[in-house]
Symmetry: C2
Subunit: 341 residues, 2 copies
């Protein structure tokens, strides 16, 4: 179980393209704030909240020069570190490690082979030894060789039982209440909300409709190749151990263009992996807004930025200063972080 597994080098875990195909966790229903006069009750009054509300009012005011037709109100959100937590490591990695342990349990002969041996030992040094190649192996062993349908079932089962090591709660309890309110607020104002994450698309789709109100067709993520075949008289799509698309960094605008075919006018992220998405959304004509979630609250959540190996926020923080991007100071801007507080 993940809470008993002391996890190793974060730097290792974050490095390389292989890791960008990792991400995320899951679980229960979101608690949206009761509809009052304030659509964003978990946000403290301040510059960021004002900027959000003012932006939404401008683009929805008919007859105004800032008006944006509902069809063009596209909002894209990173997931890890933006809509839910990403510490001590991406939740999707916790899922992958649990799957490795389950596989070894079902076939004890595996325990002597890598990467099983290192994962089972729970020894950070051993996992570090695996390197990128070992992590790519872990991904292939846990995210391929089964149908999309079977993988969906595994993700759901894992989310129903796994607990986050620090909070001892389902991973999907670690979604940010203020961001749920923001998603709902934008949708109530005619926006189409998308997730654009480096996380695996098949890992996100089983739960985001319940948790974020975002349907499968509005989720963009990293993916492996898949193949269609008829199995008996049943058509299946199988996940192959080959990377298809890495939805991170410059891959984010590429993914947005491929899946949506329109430029967002709103984008939210929290790390340098979101930089190009924020540029794609904001460097253009008309009203546009970019938001960066800055993790500044070690007490309620975590505090990290330029030096972090998970969710490093460095270049994008510099660029936020030059552009008119809104930086959310989690500690001061958010009244509530998690709904269970």
């Amino acid at each position: 179980m993940p809470d008993r597994f002391a996890f190793p080098s974060r730097r290792l875990l974050l490095s390389g393209l292989a890791m960008t195909t990792l991400l995320l966790g899951i679980a229960t229903a979101p608690q949206l704030a009761a509809a009052g006069t304030d659509p964003l009750p978990s946000w403290n009054a301040g510059a960021v909240k004002s900027a959000i509300v003012s932006f939404v009012e401008r683009v929805t005011e008919e007859g105004s020069p800032h008006f944006v037709a509902p069809d063009d109100r596209i909002a894209t959100f990173d997931n890890d570190g933006t809509l839910w937590s990403e510490q001590p490591f991406y939740f999707q990695l916790a899922f992958a490690l649990d799957r490795i342990r389950e596989q070894a349990k079902a076939d004890p002969a595996l325990a002597e082979k890598e990467p099983y041996k290192s994962v089972l030992s729970g020894d950070p040094e051993n996992l570090a030894v695996l390197g990128e190649k070992g992590l790519a192996q872990i991904l292939a062993l846990t995210h391929a060789g089964l149908t999309v349908e079977a993988f969906d079932a595994q993700v759901r089962a894992w989310l129903a039982s796994a607990r986050h090591p620090r909070f001892d709660r389902p991973y999907t309890d670690l979604v940010f209440q203020p961001m749920l309110e923001l998603l709902a607020y934008l949708r109530a104002n005619g926006f189409k909300t998308y997730v654009v994450s480096g996380g695996g698309i098949d890992f996100m789709r089983p739960w985001m409709l319940d948790v974020y109100g975002i349907p499968p067709e509005q989720i963009i993520g990293s993916s492996g190749k898949t193949a269609f075949r008829i199995d008996g008289d049943k058509p299946v799509i199988e996940k192959l151990p080959e990377v298809e698309f890495v939805d991170d960094g410059p891959g984010k605008p590429v993914g947005i263009n491929r899946f949506i075919g329109r430029r967002p006018i709103f984008a939210a992220g929290n790390s340098d992996g979101d930089l190009q998405m924020l540029q794609w959304a904001t460097l253009g004509e008309g009203e546009r807004l970019a938001l960066i979630v800055h993790h500044t609250d070690a007490e309620r959540e975590w505090a990290y930025d330029r030096a972090s190996h998970v969710g490093r926020l460095d270049k994008a923080l510099d660029e936020a200063g030059k552009r008119d991007w809104q930086v959310v100071d989690m500690k001061n801007d958010w009244k509530t972080v998690f709904s269970f507080e």
Copy 2:
């Protein structure tokens, strides 16, 4: 101009994966049938029309065991030969050849080089000599090396001026009136309608909202790789001369799974390239409907099936007989083919 260009071997044009990245044409606004009591006025009464109406009524009847929640009412449509014509060759190829001619006009030195020489000569034999490699070259020369934005503008400009050689009308006049009515009927009943075409995604997106009422984010097609970069202070996405995804045959369910993440309950196609999409949509639990447009009307449109090099319909026609798939006999089932008749 395409009407003066006698086009060559259809077999050549159809062969190979390279050609599946080709497809389509464009143009004006659809004429949807006046809303009367009959939602499908251009369809003659008969088994196919009854099957469509009965299917829609069953899945939308609340409390019925056949009821399908609106979120799961996904309908996917092939484009070439299903929503508009595809003869004498894919309209997207007419676009590509016109672009080749324009490029040679702008830079006369090109005229001595292949594939320009053969295209400019308009001699079927020369084009046949080009083979698949030459056609892939034509695609790369006309569909890459520019931004998505610039390509969009070229497609729009071409559609505004190009004329179909047989009908001397904009290519987008060659959309099937009964299918426009079907799209509108499904949407009026809570369906989300998608195009799933072997045609180029960037070639389809500029015009399908106007012509079919289908927005860019509901268009799935073949694609080349793209790259994001900042040009000065302007973010751009550039089209690269490398195939990314071929949305044909087994690629169609793969594309549907990747973009939509749900299985359609309705699918329409017209050729063997749609077989796997029709299987994916229909071989499952619950109410499902597959439709095949059979081109049987040489007078109003074209008549072709098993022996055709464009839109060959052979295996899928056999399978339609075994499954409960509806085969549209264009000549007898459609009162009107084109709105301009």
